[in-house]
Amino acid sequence: MLIRLKGGRIYDPANGANGAVRDIYVRDGRIVADPGAGARPDHDYDVSGKVVMAGAIDMHTHIGGGKVNIARALLPEDHRADLLARTELTRACCGHAAPSTLATGYRYAEMGYTACFEPALLPTNARQAHMEMGDVPIVDKGGYALLGNDDLLLSLMREGADQKLINDYVAWTLDVTQCIGIKVVNPGGINAFKFNARKLDLDETSPHYGITPRAILLTLAQAIEDLGVPHPLHVHGCNLGVPGNVDTTLETISGIEGLPMHLTHIQFHSYGTEGDRKFSSGAARIAEAINRNPNISADVGQILFGQTVTASGDNMSQHRNRKFASPDKWVVMDIECDAGCGVVPFRYRDQNFVNALQWAIGLEIFLSVDDPWRIFLTTDHPNGAPFTTYPHLIRLLMDKTFRNEQLARLNPDAVAASTLGSITREYTLNEMAIMTRAGPAKILGLADRGHLGIGAGADITVYTDREDREEMFRTPDYVFKDGELVAKDGRIVKVTLGATHVVKPAYDRGIEDRLRPHFARYRSTRLENFAIDEEELCECGSSRLAVHQCRHERTA
């Protein structure tokens, strides 16, 4: 079947198109070259004057897995306020802060998103995460496996295992959990919390293992580099949310010694201690460090005001944050000598000094990082705000007047403490296409996503160019997933299954002989039952395994 999108303005930064008018042809789920005058499209969409982009990619969103389901269990009242009625095509479910998997898929697709990456997939919880993601319809998925607090890695490091062995362990983890990247959360800190430590600074040695977070980050970043995994080590650093953590974050950047590193929800790690309230913006220093270090990328983790729930692997920080729980209930969990999690509902208030300044800090970072290929649009869903707020966030970035109107409504002391009002930058459509499409695809190594070149997967979103960018990005005219029209005018018209994106770096399977005794002695499952294979992944609900190349495979 041949589809033509006729006359759209193409924003395809990966291929240098910045609003150029041309037709796009789709056959069998892929973008193809103009088949010539003789070809008759089976479906012809007149999109003249409209904005055409690749489907958007959310590179950091908590959509499935243990902690998300705990968040759902914690908040029936939040769900009752956002019920999705069943239709001929879609099922009855609930949305808002921790939406059901079904609502997650429907609403991402309605907003023009076609791929979502779950950033905290615990290896022991991988099956649940893949089953939940399998029940997120339409969009593609991928996961980052959590390492860096597991007793296995820390034991290997304490024993002085050589980097090659650790690389094998990292590659094995990616393989058996079917993931595309590695994330570390509060390196060593979640583990230290199990030994009753309440904080762990970058250069503080952990209880029992005597290892510093700095060493864990370097070891894992080196493994990612050696294995040629496209996505840099995905780092949720030390001291999340602690005033003064901007220094920790800057130290983390210099401490990685030039290796690629992605700092996630960096807004939560950009706080100074200036001013009467000992809480200030570190955005300028962070943005400057990102601008200066081409090995560093970041997503923002913007907060937006209202009720949400924070779900994190960082149970050390979440236990500290329990005092701010609103409503007053929270969950902290230690998990399987592997990781942990903490779930704390939050209500960000625009008249609260700290919350208002958090909002401003996030926007300051967005607007002060020069290179849109290295900064990504996230709210760390649902931690800063539910993903359904993205259109609002896009308007804040693209519309200075709107931004300043919103700023004027906030806690006046926070407004006075922020430089945001003096920043005149407005993101362009091209930059928005970089930040939400081409950039994420590039940093994840998705060669056939995030762009509209010949051979790309036909994930395409068509918008009407409206002055109100919030309205524009909330309700795309058409959303195509692998060439099928899945949403029209912001409503689902077809429900499909998405693929699972992974990488498979080469490794020595002999690593299993090293791991097997640890599983048998201390863990509660057998190593032999740990791996998820492709058949099982499809049983979990994935349409297919999409394996992306590692760097070495490309050069080989």
């Binding site: 019920l83 649940q128 201390y522 998820i532």
Partner: protein, 419 residues
Amino acid sequence: MNLPNESRLITNVSCPFCGLACDDLNIRVSGNSLGVEANSCERATRLFAANSGAPGTNGSIKNLAAPFAQCAASAASLLRRASQPLISGLAADVGGIRAALRMADRIGAIVDHMNATALSRNLLVLQDSGWIVSTFAEVRSRADFVLIVGTETNSRFPRFAERLIDPLDSPFSDGPMQRSVVYLGPKPKAPADARVLDCPTSGLGEVFGALRCLIANRPLQAVQVAGLDMEVLRSLAGEMRRARYGVVAWAAADLDLPHGELVVQSICGLISDLNETTRFAGLPLGGNDADITANQVTLWQTGLPLRTGFGRGVPEYDAYHFGTDRLLASKNADVLLWVSAFDPLRLPPETDVPTIVLGSPAMRFTKPPAVFIPVATPGLHHAGHFFRSDGVMAVRLRKLTDSPLPSVADVLTAIEQAI
């Protein structure tokens, strides 16, 4: 295809018959017969045997044998005519529960589970105040103090002590670790040399209240609490405060008293208090008959837990009114679809409401249901997934031998198509 005389041993088999979900069983497969040869327990022995054999594929309609297609059509007809169908039991693997939820959405059914009354005691606490909890490997490797609340822990979860309590080698200590273990409750089933604090279930709330007072150094004018001397409780509180990683384990099923959730809440409050100075965690025990599995899938697909209904086209959760017994007694449900794929002893509740049963072929009814459709057992006859008690580990269930019977998901899909 298994030849009748062929015998083979399958190792590292995951067991779907209790919430421990042990994955280290050795199963001897001889034709259709399945025997546990290593790492067994009384539940596994009974239920692997009960679900073995060569069942006929016929179901029954009003106690008369009928082929599958006819049974499915009859079930569909009952469900189609129902004004408020109820899908309960719900002892199935993830695939079966997914199919049940899809059908519930389609026909406007209420979804409940045979163990949801017990499970709700935990859920209500989670929804009201939350908790600090742990998982099996942490408890096994780390806990230097374990308080086990209730009577039946070791019978509901036969290898609980063997797997979590008895092993003393730890990655965190050079020699064997020291672990204090205390059983608390009415005549707990515990090893002969175990430390037991005998008190009635109705006194557990008071005991945890008293412990919270002691931990908080608040004055308490009592000589005894629930029959236990204050000195005993004072010493217990001191031990808890000194623990480096303490654990309180409970099975909500044991807290069978009005507002049993309040006992859970006082346990969780105590744990939270203890974490001001040391590390402590709860270990809620459940998962039998796939209750955790059913709750997890319902939560992720709908956003709400078990006891959610779809009668009005949106999901509605009601922990009280949507309980199976209450719906049947009040006749607010007019057809019951009972799914029980693991344990043939878990029969539907006695009711006049027309009942469709998808169950183990070994089920024996005193009152035959309107429709009975025998189903294969997940993890014996087909692959699937099953959640362990802690809700973190979903174990992979494998197919061990052929069965002529369809899976729960197959049957529900067929019925849905017939509707």
